[in-house]
């Protein structure tokens, strides 16, 4: 709090109780005062004594018979009750009706009575005098009225203040007035000759948890703080939040059960109305507690509704996502079918070329192909497109088609690759390229002409188990027009030629362990004498078993002179 925020109260500016009332209040603080002396002080002010008798005889006090004299009233009610009544009347009359044109006085009295009634209801649960609590409740917000009285230009703030919960309101008061109602009450209490302990209670009720008062006074502090919350329930927008906070505080501060807390609340409206009549204050008809409760529940239901709506929208969005994913899945499935259709189907067991492809994704960037020329020689290839997914699949289809189409006329594999390269380089985008090994096998002579365009080496494993790597003679296809490739001529002579994609040599067969070209060569050598199908099965069981972690496509082509088995 800065000095600028502080508001200094001059006692002379404070509203004063009527002379007779002040005399009674002062007399009540003396130990030696007797009932008849007090009654006499009251009788000196005919307006005050008439009002006292009217209130005492109202339904609020439920006296057994009509009480006609102030002396009898004091005898019946006791000195403290008289003091309380005088206080009530003084508070009520302290501010003239039209002294504050911007201030809604009737809503202020309504809340003041709510405080008083709430405090009285809570008194029953805390071994305190209900009358004392009622008076304290009636006084607890009096400071606010006085604040508005002293700073009338800010009086209209009351309208907003009462819609806040007690803690928020307390902060806002400090901001607006530079003082809070409890601080002002302590100052006012002295000039009104209120008992010190009452001043202390009124002055610290917002700090009741840290209070250093006696046990009973501290309990009254807590009651006043709770009555703030009970009153707020009738005014705030977030009824439900306020209600729950009150219920939890009632349990924490006074040990009230949920039922007890609610019973106190439910009793408020009727008692507020009857005490308004008794004190001669005009307030609106009080809302039923059930209405307040259902209002709180409606809000809760609204919140739940928007939550439900949110859930519903989320579910819809997820369903839509699923639908789109399913549609995409179907498209990819069709694309995959087309792509698989581009790969040649298996020939009979005498055919020297066998291929196998396993895709890591729906669409593969790997491919292989083989076809026979009219003279009986067989063109074969194995390629790998850079990148993955749809773009890779489209490029794969293009390369495959070019190779097959041009290969039927161009029977020199090196020139064929040069032509395909030039064709691809002309239209290639985003730096994409294709590594490819192709060959022309003549079953009649067992000779192979092999050309490697930037692809991992092909492996030739001779009948004797000798391994030869056949590396690339030129760069991948599609990078640089005019690239030249050279043919490597070799004879199978009972051996087998293996082409494969890098997926096979880079596949992790164990954590952080890849096969590599030499590892694959050893493995192939070991499986060399197996039937092709069995070999592929054994080889792939090493990798496909880990298909979940497969990052790349795996493709293999083997070329071998084959004789039909009996």
């Amino acid at each position: 709090m800065t000095g600028k925020d502080t508001f200094t109260v001059k006692p002379a500016d404070l509203p004063a109780p009527p002379q007779a009332a002040l005399k009674i209040l002062r007399a009540c603080s003396r130990k030696d005062i007797n009932n008849s002396e007090l009654a006499e002080l009251a009788t000196h002010d005919p307006v005050l004594s008439t009002e006292l008798l009217r209130i005492v005889n109202s339904a609020f006090f439920s006296m057994p018979s009509d009480i006609k004299s102030v002396t009898r009233a004091v005898n019946l009610l006791g000195q403290r009750a008289l003091r309380n009544l005088v206080l009530c009347i003084s508070v009520r009359d302290s501010v003239r009706q039209n002294a504050l044109p911007d201030f809604d006085i009737s809503s202020f009295w309504e809340d003041t009575l709510r405080h008083a009634v709430a405090a009285r209801l809570l008194a029953e649960h805390s071994d305190l005098d209900d009358d004392e609590c009622f008076t304290a409740g009636l006084l607890q917000d009096f400071g606010l009225l006085v604040m508005c009285f002293l700073q009338p230009s800010k009086a209209s703030v009351w309208h907003d203040l009462r819609k806040l919960d007690p803690d928020q309101r307390y902060e806002r008061e400090q901001q607006v007035f530079g003082i809070t109602h409890d601080n002002l009450l302590q100052i006012l209490g002295r000039s009104w000759s209120l008992p010190d302990e009452l001043c202390a209670i009124l002055g610290t009720h917002h700090d009741c948890k840290a209070s250093s008062l006696s046990d009973a006074d501290n309990r009254m502090c807590k009651i006043l703080y709770l009555s703030d919350w009970m009153t707020a329930i009738f005014n705030v927008q977030q009824t439900g939040d306020c209600l729950r906070q009150y219920q939890s505080l009632a349990n924490e501060l006074l040990g009230l059960t949920l039922e007890q807390a609610d019973t106190c609340l439910a009793a408020m409206p009727a008692m507020v109305e009857s005490s308004a009549v008794a004190l001669g204050l005009h307030i609106q008809q009080q809302p039923d507690f059930e209405d307040i409760l259902s209002q709180a529940n409606e809000r809760l239901a609204e919140e739940n509704m928007s939550y439900q709506e949110l859930t519903w929208k989320l579910e819809n969005a997820l369903a839509e996502q699923d639908r789109l994913a399913a549609a995409l899945d179907r498209e990819l499935q069709v694309a995959r079918e087309i792509q698989t259709g581009l790969l040649p189907s298996r020939r009979d067991s005498r055919f020297p070329v066998i291929g196998y492809n396993h895709s890591a994704l729906e669409l593969s960037g790997d491919f292989f192909d083989f076809f026979e020329l009219p003279d009986g020689r067989i063109y074969f290839n194995l390629g790998d497109v850079s990148g993955k997914g749809v773009t890779a699949a489209l490029l794969m289809a293009k390369t495959c088609s070019l190779f097959r189409c041009l290969g039927k006329r161009e029977h020199d594999p090196a020139r064929l690759l040069s032509t395909v390269n030039d064709e691809l380089a002309e239209t290639m985008i985003r730096g994409m390229f294709v590594t490819l090994t192709c060959g022309l096998y003549d079953p009649a002579t067992d000779q192979v002409q092999l050309v490697n365009a930037g692809h991992p080496p092909a492996l030739l494993i001779s009948k004797e188990g000798e391994i030869t790597e056949l590396s690339a003679s030129g760069p991948p296809l599609g990078i640089m027009a005019g690239s030249q490739y050279t043919i490597e001529k070799t004879s199978l002579s009972g051996g087998c030629l293996y082409l494969f994609s890098d997926g096979l040599i880079e596949c992790e067969y164990a954590p952080d362990r890849v096969l590599g070209v030499s590892g694959l060569a050893k493995l192939l050598h070991k499986l060399h004498d197996r039937e092709p199908d069995e070999l592929i099965k054994l080889l792939f069981s090493q990798f496909i078993a880990q298909a979940e972690t497969l990052k790349d496509d795996i493709t293999l082509v083997m070329v071998e002179k084959r004789t039909p088995h009996a």
């Binding site: 790998d384 850079s386 990148g387 993955k388 290639m428 985003r430 730096g431 994409m432 390229f433 590594t435 365009a453 930037g454 692809h455 991992p456 080496p457 590396s471 690339a472 003679s473 030129g474 760069p475 991948p476 990078i479 640089m480 690239s483 890098d502």
Partner: protein
């Protein structure tokens, strides 16, 4: 994985560090193309590349193809053994101009 850029003897040197894979390549590609579009002469330094896959190669190829069209300088600088193996295996050492240091480029 990290990309560092510096200027040396009038060349923009884009240094790729770590594994240039499917995850890293798009960033490398973006940096290379940005420099070329900005009319810079680009050298991609690969001395700290521990692994490069086909997507990384594609980023270099795209830079190379773009520089051919515009007549800018594009080359690879101090290529690590790991990267050189891949380049040689695919005969890409015949495609990219490869230099050991910046002074060689002028020659």
């Amino acid at each position: 994985m990290e990309i560092k850029k510096r200027n040396e003897s009038g060349y923009s040197i884009i240094s790729l560090v770590g594994e240039v894979d499917l995850h890293f390549s798009p960033k490398a590609r973006e940096e290379i193309l940005k420099a070329l579009k900005n009319n810079e002469n680009v050298l991609v330094e690969l001395s700290e590349v521990s692994y490069i896959d086909s997507s990384g190669i594609a980023s270099l190829v795209e830079g190379y193809q773009m520089s051919k069209k515009s007549g800018q300088t594009f080359g690879l600088l101090s290529v690590s053994n790991a990267a050189m193996q891949v380049l040689k295996l695919a005969r890409l050492d015949s495609v990219f101009p490869i230099y050991d240091n910046v002074e060689d480029v002028k020659d």
